[in-house]
Amino acid sequence: MTDAVHRLENGGRIDRTQRLSFHFDGETMHGHPGDTLASALLANGVRLVGRSFKYHRPRGLMAAGGEEPNGLVRLRQGGRAEPNVRATEIILYDGLVAESQNRWPSLNFDLGAVNDRLSPLFPAGFYYKTFMWPASLWPTYEAVIRRMAGLGKAAESADPDRYEKQYAHCDVLVVGAGPAGLAAAHWAGRTGARVILADEGAELGGALLGNGQRIDGRPGMNWAAGIGAELARAENVRLLPRTIVAGYYDHNALTLLERVADHLLQPDQGQPRQRLWQVRAKQVVLATGALERPLVLANNDRPGVMGAGAVQTYINRYGVRPGRRAVLFTNNDSAYPAAMDLAKAGVAVAAVVELRAQAPLRYLPELEQLGIELLVDRAVLSVTGRKSVTGVQIGKLNEAGDGVVAGLERRIDCDLLCLSGGWTPSLHLLSQSGAGLQWDAAQGCFLPGPGRAAASQAVRVAGAANGDFGLQDCLTLGAEAGNAAANDAGHRRRGRGPRKPAADDAAAPLPPRPIWSIPGPGRNGGNNSGSNGGKAFVDFQSDVTAADLRLAAREGYRSIEHVKRYTTTGMGTDQGRTSNINALGIVAQALDVPVPQVGHTTFRPPFSPVTFGALAGGQVGPLLDPVRRTPMHGWHLAAGAVFEPVGQWQRPYYYPKAGEDMAAAVDRESLAARTSVGLMDATTLGKIDIQGPDAAEFLNRIYTNGWKGLAVGGCRYGLMLGEDGMIFDDGVTARLGQGHFHMTTTTGNAGHVLDWLESWLQTEWPELVVYCTSVTEQWAVAALCGPNARRLLAELCPDLDLSPAAFPYMTWQTAALPGVAGGLEARIFRIGFTGELSFEINVPAGHGPTLWQALMAAGEKYAITPFGTEAMHVLRAEVGFIIVGQETDGTTTPEDLGLGRMVSGKKDFLGKRSLSRSDSMRQDRPALVGLLTDDPGLRVPEGAQLIAGTNPAPPQRGQGHVTSSYHSPNLGRTFALAMLEGGHGRHGEAIHIAYDGRAVPATVTAPRFLDPVLEAPERAK
């Protein structure tokens, strides 16, 4: 049922019985299950698949795998649109929609191609040398540059798909399921070790799927399928196809990107699109294979120039004939099997051009038999054609390979040029692990170096990745690596291992002749832009030519890192997978130093680009961060509260009644708390249970004030300083028993304070016998506040003497509340943050709502008013209580707040010494003051600056800033708190408050506008 012109009648791993339709640039085409978008495009005769980054040159597919530099498309549409996807990695599905990129108005006719003509003006780094005059025009130039750059287009709307993470632990992680990896997993699996085998491909087999090699007399791909089936049955082995091992982090932690549903039109119900695995492996075997390099020669980027191995894969795996008439150009053995496969697939093979002085003898008989011409010691000097290859020019190079002995000896017509420039072992992951690489001059590539970065990076390399290019070596050494890895992870095989597979062709290939760039046919043999034979590309994706690299070297960018950044070589989405080695070679040549002296650039994760969605995982949107709510949250919600986020908590901000705005609601709430009774949910405050014989001594060291004298039943306010002397938290702590305290902290700091206490206890003062335990979650707290608070509470706990004498300010009691939840026992603290008569009632959290409702019900006759954080802030500011993090900012000492009396002179405590440094004792330090604007209706913004004169014009130095600013119904006007230089001595002074170009007159006052109600008799109603 093949309807595509370039599809072979037989062969390959595609299912010709099913037809899939897909759309490329609006045109409908057909392929089969087993195809990639790339193979299907080729089958349909599509050659031109994209435009290059900088010059907008027409580009075609070069590779068959993840190293493809050119075939980047925009896949899918709308919120699912994904730019820069390699067509070679897109598994074809029915209904697939893809578009070419970086072209306008169309792929075939792209106006951007003018860049190619103007390219002499755009050598590497040209933008550093121009666009500077006039300076004012730079933004305009920049806008144009930005529009021209940037490959694909992002999605237009949010992504509808889900992503997930998965943690996994294993004994042996095998990366790559080619012959080496399969053998490794097979042998490791037989030991009973927990094995994970991951491969980016949809099918296991690696190179065997494409190269036609045979094992044990059968096609290699059949052997792979057999091993794969056995591994799939093993309980201790997890197979992860379609999974890229992306990053190798410390201590053998690796990330794997599994493309769970990318081969489907869209994910199934509940299915994540992709999953990011985080694997902690005891041992790692890298069997990641090797990548075939292109050869660098003039116009080597024309559509129809492909890798020899890729061409083999298209024929053998996908049943696609990638051209009609081919020339192969190679510096190593691997083009020969490709030539034969091409011939067998019915492609006319015009010639094999062998760069070496001698061709590998073992292939010659078959070559001859197929009638393929062999040109030894020759080179393809350049390629003709624009949107497709039309032919090649052949010549002979000198011995060094840097000049042409006989140029343009001959021209051969062809529409396909297969390049094989040698193999680059895939050592990205090894290098990421921190291990060093070592240059192998004979093979012309980097191989694993001796030693590894750290013992915990327990890693082995096997197969082509290790430079073992022969199939037998891959199989044998792969098995050994797998077995040894399992042993090192503590697993030993009982009994005999699996049968050892034998490759049909056991001979290892001969070494290549590394020539980093083929001299052009022109006069100077150079590869410069312009007339001299055309551009010779090194990095196809970043449009970097050999000439660019040489220019960089000439200009003095000698470090390979400078060359990379100046020319952008290796900086594209393929991170130079096929180009880095060629670039090194060319730079080494230009600098006239050996390659190892140039070194290589740093391999960084990810091996292949990883979707943001997968990195973000499932905890996004509403799950971005926990939302913490108090037990009474449901009540607040029903009461119409507006919430304020405080840390992760949601706290009622205010409770607007119908028709009320925030200001009105807050006024009403603050008024009620001072005139009758208000109720606030104070559950979120941090609470720490502190017990032990040394508890008081411990608090003495933590807080600035003394704790030993506090009676059981008493409460005390405390300030905590860092060792730098600056306030970092405050709160009231109650003495529950001789060696038992209940500490409260600010909501946002609860965790930090507990950590702080633990760190001192465990590391500095282990001799103190004290236990700290968080009880934040155990208690719900309702703060009752206002002149009627006592009367109301009395109704709920009739047996408790609430009189000031029996239950004075800053004490606590336990009491049963007979009417609440069947006699609930509560801890009641006579403390408060509003400066009003208050009781903070603590009950086990599960009873919080019951308590709250009981208070509301009993309070009805006093018009009890629930109030939120904003009214609470107003109330506390009226009496001059500070909020850590609002009045303080990490640079504030107790003295700055006028709380010097809380600093004990008798004992040492954390941070004390810092208070006597010269700067801490400066008289003009910012100090807490009150502010009353001349205009009582004007509420200045928080953060506004205090200035000396009346003119807010810059530049000038401010004298302080407004920390809190409110309207107070109790004062009948606005008021503010501020930190003002030397403020303690400036009460009564006139000052100006500056913001947004205004200067507002105000008077400095004491930071207290109402006196707190402590033991004073209850104010009359």
Binding site: Y249, D250, H251, N252, A253, Q278, R280, G434, A453, A454, A455, S456, E723, D724, D755, E758, S759, Q762, T763, E764, P766, D908, K912, R913, S914, S916, R917, S918
Partner: protein, 93 residues
């Protein structure tokens, strides 16, 4: 992603821990007797070793314990794990 062996819980992933910085900084017994220089040195100055760093870690999302770690700040290799209060162990550079 470090794998840290908590002296109590065994091997656990970095995410469960927090690092408390340089270990063996002993809080002075009588800070009030120190001059500003000595106090500032204690509060702020750090060895910030390139090589073996002796540091404190806490298994916060685990057993809650603090312990000391000798770790290479170059390779991130953990060379020793020991109790708070113990002397610096001998470790290979």
């Amino acid at each position: 992603m470090l794998l840290i062996s908590c002296p109590w819980c065994g091997d656990r992933s970095e995410e469960e821990f927090s690092c408390g910085g340089e270990a063996h900084i002993v809080r002075p017994v009588t800070p009030q007797d120190m001059d500003d220089q000595a106090w500032g040195d204690y509060v702020f100055m750090r060895r910030n070793e390139k090589g073996v760093h002796f540091e404190r870690w806490r298994h916060g999302n685990g057993c809650g314990r603090w312990f000391n770690v000798a770790r290479s700040t170059v390779t991130h290799e953990i060379l020793a794990i020991y109790q708070v209060g113990d002397d610096r162990p001998e470790v290979p550079e």
